[in-house]
C-alpha cells in the first residue's frame, strides 16, 4: 500500500493491510510526525527556526566570526558593516558573535527548564489524579497554593544564596512551569483516570503506576506537549527578564538577555543593538508557540490519521 499524501483522502481510506512488522515502528512514527509538521505552513516555519537555533548553538561552540573577547575600542556602537555584520556594542565587541554564543545558553536554559518542568508537572499531575484520596487532596491544595507564587519571586529568593546564575533561571522556571503544567494537564488526566478503560485495566489487576504510565500519560500527552512548548518560549523570555533584573545569567556569559540588558539603556541612541536580540527572542518564542500548537494535532493518533497507519 503506498502512502496517501492527501489529508482528506487518508481520513476516509482505511488501510486494511497495515504492515505486520513492528520493528521499525518507533522510527517511522517519528518520521510521520516530522512529515506532518512540515506539511503545514506554520509548522515549516517553526521547524526551520528551531533547527537554525540548534545549528547556530552547536556552531558557536567551535566558531564565531569574531572572538567574544576581541574588543575594538575605536569602534564602539558601530553600525552594521562588513567587519561587524550587526555592528558592535559599548565595549566594541561583535554583536553577531555574542548573539550566536547566546543562542546556546538560551537553548541550554530552555531545554533544562522544560525537562525539569515536565518531570515535576507529570509527577504532580499523577499525584493529583491518584486513587489515594489523601495524596490527591494534598497535591491539589499544594499546587493551588504554590502556583500563586510568581516565577520571578522564586528566582529572586533563589538568587539570595546562589547569586546570578543560569541554575537560578532553570530551577525557577522549572518549578513555575511544572506547577502550571500539572494544573493544566489535570482535567485531561482526570478524564482518562475516570474512564471505563482504566476501570477495565484495574479490573485485570493493573497497578496504579501502570495505569498512569500506559493510559493516563498518553492521553494527557497532547496537552502536556503543547504546554511544554509554550514553557520553552516563556523560558527564553524569562531569561531576558531575569538577566535584566540581575538575577539571571551573570555578566560575561553570553545570552540574548545579556545582549538586551547591556544595550537597553542606550535604546534612544543606538536602537539597532536592542533590535537584534529583541527580534531573535520574538521569532524564537513565536516559533515555539506555533510548534506546540502544531505538535498537539500531529502527535495524537486520534487527530492524525496518518499516525494510525504506521
Amino acid at each position: 500500500m503506498t502512502r496517501n499524501n492527501e489529508h482528506s483522502a487518508s481520513e476516509t481510506v482505511r488501510t486494511n493491510n497495515a504492515p505486520a512488522n513492528m520493528g521499525t515502528k518507533a522510527s517511522s512514527k517519528f518520521t510521520v510526525v516530522l512529515r506532518s509538521i512540515w506539511r503545514r505552513g506554520e509548522g515549516k516555519f517553526a521547524l526551520i527556526v528551531l533547527a537554525l537555533w540548534l545549528a547556530v548553538s552547536l556552531l558557536s561552540l567551535v566558531w564565531t566570526p569574531k572572538s567574544l573577547w576581541a574588543t575594538d575600542g575605536y569602534h564602539v556602537w558601530a553600525k552594521p558593516s562588513a567587519a561587524h555584520w550587526l555592528g558592535t556594542d559599548g565595549t566594541g565587541a561583535d554583536v553577531f558573535s555574542w548573539l550566536m554564543a547566546g543562542a546556546r545558553t538560551n537553548l541550554f536554559i530552555a531545554v533544562l527548564a522544560v525537562v525539569f518542568a515536565g518531570a515535576l508537572g507529570i509527577l504532580l499531575m499523577s499525584a493529583m489524579v491518584s486513587r489515594s484520596s489523601a495524596l490527591s487532596n494534598v497535591s491539589v491544595v499544594a499546587v493551588d497554593a504554590l502556583i500563586s507564587i510568581p516565577t520571578v519571586l522564586i528566582a529572586l529568593i533563589l538568587a539570595v544564596p546562589m547569586g546570578a546564575s543560569v541554575v537560578v533561571i532553570i530551577i525557577a522556571c522549572g518549578i513555575g512551569y511544572g506547577l502550571n503544567l500539572a494544573r493544566i494537564a489535570r482535567p485531561q488526566a482526570l478524564l482518562a483516570a475516570n474512564s471505563d478503560y482504566v476501570a477495565s485495566a484495574l479490573s485485570y489487576g493493573a497497578s496504579g503506576f501502570s495505569v498512569i504510565w500506559h493510559h493516563i500519560l498518553p492521553n494527557a500527552m497532547p496537552t502536556i506537549m503543547v504546554q511544554l512548548s509554550l514553557s520553552a518560549g516563556t523560558a527564553v523570555l524569562a531569561e531576558s527578564g531575569l538577566t535584566y533584573l540581575g538575577v539571571g545569567v551573570p555578566s560575561g556569559v553570553p545570552s540574548w538577555g545579556h545582549s538586551l540588558a547591556t544595550s537597553v539603556k542606550f535604546i534612544n541612541v543606538y536602537p539597532l543593538t536592542v533590535l537584534w536580540p529583541g527580534l531573535i527572542v520574538t521569532i524564537v518564542v513565536v516559533a515555539l508557540n506555533v510548534f506546540g500548537d502544531v505538535l498537539r494535532d500531529v502527535i495524537d493518533p486520534v487527530t492524525n490519521p496518518e499516525l494510525r497507519e504506521v
Binding site: Y197, S200, A201, Y204, P218, V302
Partner: protein, 261 residues
C-alpha cells in the same frame, strides 16, 4: 447428568444507601446463583438495582447485609480469597465501547492488555499472547489481520464493542459480566454482538456469562435463566422459557409487552 458447579452466589443481598431520612434501599434481600457455563440475564429498568447488584457480585461494593461467594470462597473485601480469585477469573464488558477502549491504543494493544498484566503473575509466552489475541478476535468475528493495527476512532460501534468482548475473553475467564453491552449500539449491529456471545458460549462451554439488560428481546436467544429486578426487589426468576412465556409478575408482563412488536 450432574449439575454444573456453582461459580458465584449472592445470598440475601440487601444494600441501603444513605442514613436517616435519606435512606434508600437499592437492593432488598436478593439471592442469585450462577453456575459454570450458564448465561444468566439480569433484567431491570433504570433504578431497578441491577447495577448495584452487579457491583456487589463483583466485589466492587459491599452489601449492607448478605454474602457473596465465588467458588465457595467468601468475597468480602479486597484481601479475601474469593475476591482475589474473582479478580483473576472474571472480566467485564462495559456499556459504551468507545469509553471502554483507550482511544490512543491499537486494537492489538487493548486486547493484549489483560494478558500482559497477568503475565507478571503467571509466565505466559510472548507468542502465546499473540496467538490468544488472534483467537479472541476471530471468535468475535473480527479478522485479526484487518483489525489488529486499527484505532478505536476507525471502528464502528459494533466493531468496537466486539473488540471489548475479545479483550474480556482473552484471559479465558470463568465469568464474563456484560453490563448492557448492546444498549449504546445500533440495532443492526446488536446482532453481531449477540453472535459474538453465542460463539463464546459454543467454544468456551465452561465460561459463565452474566448479561445485564433492560430489554428482554436482547437476551432471549442467549440467556438460560432470567432474573427480573424492579425497585430493588427480585420480582421474578426462572428459565428463559418460563419468564418469557409464562411471566408471573405484573412488571415482567410489562417488559414482555415492551419487547414485543
Amino acid at each position: 447428568m450432574t449439575e454444573p458447579q456453582v461459580l458465584l452466589t449472592g445470598n440475601g443481598i440487601t444494600r441501603i444507601f444513605g442514613k436517616g431520612n435519606e435512606r434508600q434501599t437499592a437492593l432488598d434481600d436478593v439471592s442469585v446463583e450462577v453456575r459454570a457455563g450458564e448465561c444468566l440475564a439480569l433484567i431491570g429498568g433504570s433504578g431497578s438495582g441491577k447495577s448495584t447488584l452487579t457491583r456487589i457480585l463483583l466485589g466492587l461494593d459491599r452489601p449492607t447485609s448478605g454474602t457473596v461467594t465465588f467458588e465457595d470462597e467468601s468475597v468480602d473485601g479486597s484481601k479475601s480469597v474469593g475476591y482475589q480469585a474473582l479478580r483473576r477469573e472474571s472480566s467485564l464488558v462495559f456499556q459504551s465501547p468507545f469509553t471502554s477502549l483507550d482511544p490512543r491504543w491499537t486494537v492489538a494493544k487493548s486486547v493484549a492488555e489483560p494478558l500482559k498484566i497477568q503475565h507478571k503473575y503467571a509466565k505466559i509466552d510472548g507468542s502465546d499472547i499473540d496467538r490468544k489475541v488472534h483467537e479472541s478476535l476471530s471468535l468475535v468475528g473480527l479478522d485479526p489481520n484487518e483489525f489488529l493495527s486499527r484505532y478505536p476512532v476507525d471502528l464502528s460501534g459494533g466493531q468496537a464493542q466486539r473488540v471489548a468482548i475479545a479483550r474480556a475473553l482473552v484471559t479465558d475467564p470463568k465469568l464474563i459480566v456484560a453490563d448492557e453491552p448492546m444498549s449504546a449500539i445500533d440495532v443492526a449491529a446488536r446482532l453481531q454482538i449477540l453472535k459474538a456471545f453465542a460463539a463464546i458460549r459454543k467454544s468456551r462451554p465452561d465460561t459463565a456469562i452474566i448479561m445485564i439488560s433492560h430489554d428482554l428481546g436482547v437476551v432471549q436467544h442467549i440467556a438460560d435463566r432470567i432474573v427480573v429486578l424492579h425497585h430493588g426487589k427480585m420480582v421474578e426468576s426462572g428459565t428463559t422459557d418460563d419468564v418469557l412465556n409464562r411471566p408471573k409478575a405484573a412488571y415482567t408482563r410489562e417488559l414482555v409487552a415492551a419487547a414485543s412488536l
